[in-house]
């Protein structure tokens, strides 16, 4: 019996080995001579999507835009990964996509972006980053890769400014006592670190003080990293950061700390670098203000209507449309490159709502499956476009600008 | 016999894979009788009765209980309807109290609101224990704390608490001391007097002839013959059982000990709890040293201590002059130990015959004492299977599928295979049919003649007297008396010192 088992095992190994030997021959790349009249809908294109979050409202909204709008409009099929926890899971997911003949990968996962780019380049699969950007060093290293399409999303300065603007909105109204939720800051997540830095710098400027000896963007980022990304409450001149909680433990202790910050009677404004509705909405006192950087959902609109939330800087789900069309364009032989022939890196900002009406209007557009912010007609204008056209299009990201573009 | 039939089995057949356990078996039992079932291991005694008691289902055949068609769903179901069975091996759950075992599955009878009225349950259980004469067992004790005999008695109490019409006693008495046996005999007699039925399974021919009114002999899954009381004849019954005349002597028939002067094992002043009390003994080369006593006298503990499986609190013991600290060292000094609780201590029943035999002899056949070549292992194991005539499909068969006698042979062959010079045998023929028993006695005698030494711990007087060169009678952890081999030595002589 053991012999039979061994034989079976051996057979499997032999089949695998032979198949691997066949790995040597790679398929040829895209067809560069195609016309740029518009997307070619004659052949289905499989696109893999790497996600590290599959449950948040933002992640679901992005997925709905791709699967319920883009997939209906174009002859493409999106394959989504499971929730990716680490770099090895990302590499496995990319391998899965390649095995399933995906021609391109759009990444929302950031455990190891350089490894993702390398893996895709080695295997001749186009790769783009949605809702984020590479660091400058990374961009310099990979911009010339043939299969690296580029990145569209808030760059770190945009993130910094999102935090800065939100805090300033309240400081300008004369509020001075703040409670803060630092999200993934202790996990060294840059996006949240920069947003937190923006808020702290705004407080330093308004209060004429310093936080950990820093009072501008550069020194603040340095100070945060210097402290191991662990922030503490502090008096910042005339302004005070009364309470601070971070992490995503979701246990009783974590909720207890959040409640303690919200229950502190001196705290006037609760600020969150992200997930503020989850963290603070349940504990916020009636006289307190709550500002969050997140996305537009039915829940967030309801919170704004009820007065629980009064400032929301949110990504809009169609913001990932341009990166899709750039990827499709590349797959079909019309890559959009900068004048130097490099991959693009374009920053894109948030929609900011400070009233329920605004939020409601944004959400209606954002959640539409027929007329989303970026429709096929708008995106088709970018197919095979020049870098400058793409950049100009993406940078007009505010709600009003997009409405103009749609006309 | 004009009495009412309580049990009737017609054309019953049962297979376990390729093994035919029952082949067209029919028999009946009546009110007011004790029916004996006798046969070698694997003859079908337990299988047929266990089917009647609801433990398993037959493949073919019909059953009737008090004239009605009978198809119990489980043992509990059968017991509730009046058919109880006391099984050979332990049928209790170790981690719960005696009372919970007695009323297993019936706790709802004791519910008071959402809670079990444990006080009432304990009282009822104690009553059941007292009724069978096992009042020394406390109902609130955890079953694991009881020894084999008391666990068995608590099981009997469980069955008797339901006041069954038919009671099957399967090979229970051989595991018990005289006191335990007397309890069972008392129950059997009482049931008979109450016009109920007892089916009594035993390997002990004398016992079964004495207690039963009729005797049915099974062999290889078939009924061979039923003897009425008047027809009882030990030789004829034996012949029916094994299908041939039993040739040669049963026990050894010499009275000239060949035991040498050389002491191979010496214990000096051993103490351990209430089990060993300043006990000393010497075992010589070529000697069978019998250890007898009541079940609680400490003799089973002595066996474990001398194999270094338990450490004495005081005193020393040496083997070939060396102090032994654990079982591995004992094995290095060529010792072997067959424990009383065969399925738990002597064998891994969920492993093959090969696994069981070879694990004790790895150092005997492993190349350079580490590498196992399948061919060498097979040769080693097959030699043992052959030498002890273990009845099996092949050595890869699982021990769990063997009959009691063959299991015991496997346990023996672990140690005979590695040519152990000192064997500690604790109740080696418990639950073994006479054919196997005789083979084992012959093997022990053979080993003795080869200069090997055996410490024979047993609860069977006849075995001790029949096989031992010397017999130490233990009581309360002490050696009460040393008796030398003699044709004049009788069970009464031994019992005098036991009690």
């Amino acid at each position: 019996m053991k012999t039979l088992k061994r034989l079976t095992a051996l057979l499997l190994v032999v089949v695998m080995v032979f198949s691997l030997a066949a790995c040597g021959s790679k398929e040829s790349g895209g067809n560069d001579s195609a016309q740029t009249s518009g997307p070619d809908d004659s052949q289905n294109v499989k696109i893999g999507v790497l996600v590290s979050d599959v449950t948040s409202a933002e992640a679901l909204a992005f997925r709905a835009y791709y699967e319920e709008y883009i997939q209906e409009q174009y002859n493409v099929t999106f394959m989504y990964s499971d929730e990716l926890a680490d770099a090895a899971a990302e590499a496995s997911a990319i391998d899965n996509f390649i095995a399933n003949n995906c021609k391109a990968i759009i990444s929302f996962a950031s455990a190891d972006r350089p490894a993702q780019i390398e893996q895709c380049e080695q295997n001749g699969v186009y790769y783009a980053v949605a809702t984020g950007t590479l660091t400058e060093e990374q961009y310099e290293q990979y911009k010339g890769y043939e299969h690296y399409v580029g990145a569209i999303g808030p760059d770190l300065y945009t993130e910094y400014m999102a935090g800065y603007n939100m805090a300033k909105y309240y400081l300008d109204q004369g509020y001075t006592k703040f409670g803060m939720f630092g999200g993934a800051t202790p996990y060294y997540t840059e996006m949240h670190i920069y947003r937190a830095a923006g808020m702290l710098v705004a407080m330093c400027e308004a209060g004429n003080g310093t936080y950990m000896g820093a009072n501008d963007m550069g020194s603040m980022i340095g100070a945060i990293y210097g402290a191991g990304c662990q922030l503490e409450p502090a008096v910042i001149g005339d302004v005070e950061l009364v309470g601070y909680v971070a992490g995503y433990d979701f246990d009783d202790a974590w909720f207890g700390k959040l409640a303690a910050v919200a229950n502190d009677p001196s705290v006037e404004v609760l600020l969150a670098v992200g997930s503020g509705q989850t963290a603070f909405a349940g504990f916020k006192q009636a006289n307190q203000k709550l500002g969050d950087i997140d996305c537009y959902t039915a829940d967030s609109v309801a919170l704004m209507e009820s007065g629980t939330l009064d400032y929301l800087a949110g990504k809009f789900s169609a913001s990932i449309g341009p990166v899709f069309i750039a990827v499709l364009s590349a797959v079909q032989g019309h890559p959009i490159r900068t004048e130097e022939g490099n991959a693009f890196a374009i920053s894109q900002g948030y929609w900011v709502a400070t009233s329920a009406e605004q939020a409601k209007e944004y959400f209606e557009v954002d959640s539409s499956k027929t007329e989303p912010a970026y429709t096929r007609a708008m995106l088709d204008t970018l197919y095979g476009a020049s870098y400058s056209d793409l950049e100009a299009f993406v940078q007009k990201y505010s709600f009003e600008e997009i409405k103009e573009l749609a006309k | 016999m004009n009495k009412t039939k309580t049990v009737e089995i017609k054309h019953m057949s049962k297979r376990f894979g390729p093994t035919v356990a029952l082949n067209d078996v029919s028999f009946e039992a009546y009110r007011g009788e004790i029916l004996g079932l006798i046969g070698e291991n694997g003859s079908g005694k337990s299988t047929s009765t266990s089917i009647f008691a609801g433990m398993q289902a037959a493949d073919e055949g019909e059953m009737f209980f008090l004239g009605e068609a009978w198809a119990p769903k489980s043992m509990t179901d059968a017991l509730k309807q009046g058919v109880g069975m006391i099984v050979q091996e332990s049928g209790t759950v170790a981690g719960i109290t005696v009372a919970e075992n007695i009323f297993l599955g019936e706790t709802k009878e004791f519910m008071r609101g959402p809670f079990v009225d444990r006080k009432r349950m304990f009282a009822e259980a104690q009553k059941a224990l007292d009724q069978i004469g096992a009042g020394h067992i406390r109902a609130e004790m955890v079953t694991a704390a009881l020894d084999f005999q008391d666990r068995k008695l608590s099981e009997i109490a469980k069955v008797m608490a339901q006041n069954p019409t038919v009671l099957v006693v399967d090979e229970t008495t051989t595991a018990l001391s005289q006191m335990g046996r007397d309890i069972i005999y008392g129950i059997m007699n009482r049931m008979k007097e109450e016009d109920k039925t007892v089916i009594f399974i035993s390997h002990d021919l004398d016992e079964i002839m004495e207690k039963c009114d009729r005797l049915t002999v099974l062999r290889d899954g078939q009924i061979i013959r039923t003897f009425t009381k008047e027809e009882f004849d030990a030789d004829q019954i034996r012949t029916s059982m094994i299908g041939r005349e039993l040739s040669g002597s049963f026990y050894r028939n010499d009275f000239d000990s060949v035991a040498g002067e050389e002491v191979v094992l010496e214990a000096d002043d051993l103490c351990l709890g209430n089990q060993l009390d300043h006990l000393s003994l010497k075992l010589h080369a070529g000697e069978i040293l019998g250890i007898g006593g009541l079940s609680h006298c400490g003799m089973h503990t002595l066996g474990k201590v001398l194999f270094a499986a338990e450490m004495p609190e005081a005193g020393t013991f040496t083997v070939h002059g060396k102090t032994i600290r654990n079982e591995a060292e004992a094995m290095r000094e060529s010792m072997g130990y067959v424990a009383k609780d065969r399925d738990v201590e002597s064998l891994c029943v969920d492993a093959s015959i090969k696994d069981n035999i070879s694990v004790a002899g790895l150092d005997k056949f492993a190349v350079k004492n580490f590498l196992i070549l399948p061919s060498k292992e097979k040769k080693y194991v097959d030699a043992q299977v052959e030498a002890l005539r273990i009845k099996c499909r092949d050595a890869d068969q699982y021990v769990s599928a063997l009959s009691g006698g063959n299991k015991q042979k496997v346990a023996f062959s672990k140690w005979t295979g590695r040519d152990s010079e000192i064997l500690i045998l604790d109740c080696p023929t418990r639950g073994v049919d006479i054919g196997v028993k005789q083979a084992m006695y012959q093997l022990m005698d053979q080993m003795r003649k080869e200069g090997k030494s055996i410490l024979l711990i047993s609860e069977e007087m006849a075995e001790l007297i029949g096989m031992s060169d010397r017999l130490l009678v233990m009581k309360d952890g002490k050696v009460q008396k040393e008796l030398l081999r003699s044709p004049a030595l009788s069970e009464a002589d031994v019992i005098t010192y036991m009690i």
């Binding site: 691997l20 770099a87 899971a89 190891d112 | 699982y398």
Partner: protein, 325 residues
């Protein structure tokens, strides 16, 4: 004669049950191939992918079979793999030597295993109890190591350093060598026999001269080697390590071993091949789910059902096989 036919029939039936996990693997393989043809899958790349995705679990779980054989359990293997990989990566960053990284990975994993088993031996506890404590300890250690590294939330080995060995052939060689080592220990050495017997009946094993504590320590040490190699292979595949590295490996090991037909109670029926068969089967199953584009939740449910079915078939063999006497 008639009985011989029955015996042969019975043997065949038992063999079929024993082979259930292998047949499961072959079945999954066939389904995968059919789907691959229908759904336009890159088959050569898929094989490479299957090896990449299963190698770490194959290696770690094959070592863990020694622990399961004892009827024991180690819940901390995933955390141990993470810590070994982190310390191995740090060792590389200090020395620049891949060999040192390999040795450190294996050394740390074996060390962790030994701590678990020796502690259990000293305090006379079931080993799985100490592994629960180790799980907490190691999870904390992961955070400390990443924090101590001071460069962010990851510990990285330069991708170039491991690019040379991040290929399927190298992984296959490591896997085959370690499997051969384990098969040799398990089936052809005294140690394997003793482990199986100890797992089958520790009481009887003790009375047959086996030292349960030493056997546990040996089993954990062998498992440690597997975990160390798994850590090393994890680094070669994805040289960026974080607090989430190998977070699913612990559970994957358990699933693979059981999926491969290993009895959870250990003992004589334990099979050293079960981990490899189970791990590859699970990977194939994942691939099938992905190819069918099944929603993650549905996929998990289908996997769970197939898992129960395979385990039921492989275990039902010895349920009905017990004669009362």
């Amino acid at each position: 004669m008639g009985n011989d036919t029955l015996i042969r029939k019975e043997n065949r039936k038992a063999a079929l049950f024993r082979l259930a996990p292998v047949m499961g693997l072959v079945f999954l393989f066939a389904v995968f191939l059919i789907l691959a043809i229908i759904k336009d899958i890159n088959i050569p790349y898929s094989f490479k992918n299957i090896i990449n995705q299963s190698v770490v679990v194959v290696v770690a779980a094959t070592g863990a079979v020694f622990i399961y054989t004892l009827g024991s359990f180690d819940i901390s293997l995933g955390a141990s793999l993470c810590v070994s990989a982190l310390i191995g990566a740090m060792a590389y960053n200090v020395t620049g030597s891949v060999l040192v990284m390999l040795l450190v990975c294996v050394g740390v994993a074996v060390g962790i295993s030994l701590v678990s088993s020796v502690l259990a031996s000293v305090f006379n506890l079931p080993v799985f109890v100490t592994t629960i404590a180790m799980l907490s300890l190691l999870s904390a250690l992961v955070l400390v190591l990443i924090g101590a590294n001071g460069t962010g939330d990851v510990i990285q080995v330069p991708a170039a350093a491991v690019r040379g060995i991040n290929n399927v052939w190298f992984k296959l060689i490591v896997m085959v060598l370690y499997l051969a080592f384990c098969i040799f220990l398990f089936d052809f050495m005294k140690l394997g026999r003793k482990e199986k017997f100890q797992g089958g009946n520790p009481v009887c094993a003790k009375l047959t001269g086996l030292n349960g504590k030493k056997l546990a320590i040996a089993a954990f040490a062998i498992a440690g080697i597997g975990v160390g190699l798994g850590a090393f292979l994890t680094i070669t595949y994805a040289p960026t390590l974080s607090r989430n590295t190998a977070s699913s490996v612990g559970m994957d090991i358990i699933i693979s071993i059981v999926f491969g037909g290993m009895p959870v109670s250990g003992g004589a029926r334990s099979k050293i091949y079960s981990a490899a068969i189970g791990a590859v089967s699970m990977t194939l199953l994942n691939q099938i789910m992905l190819t069918l584009s099944l929603d993650s939740g549905v996929g998990q449910m289908v996997k769970a059902m197939i898992f129960i079915l395979v385990v039921y078939i492989s275990m039902s063999n010895h349920k009905g096989n017990i004669l009362p006497r």
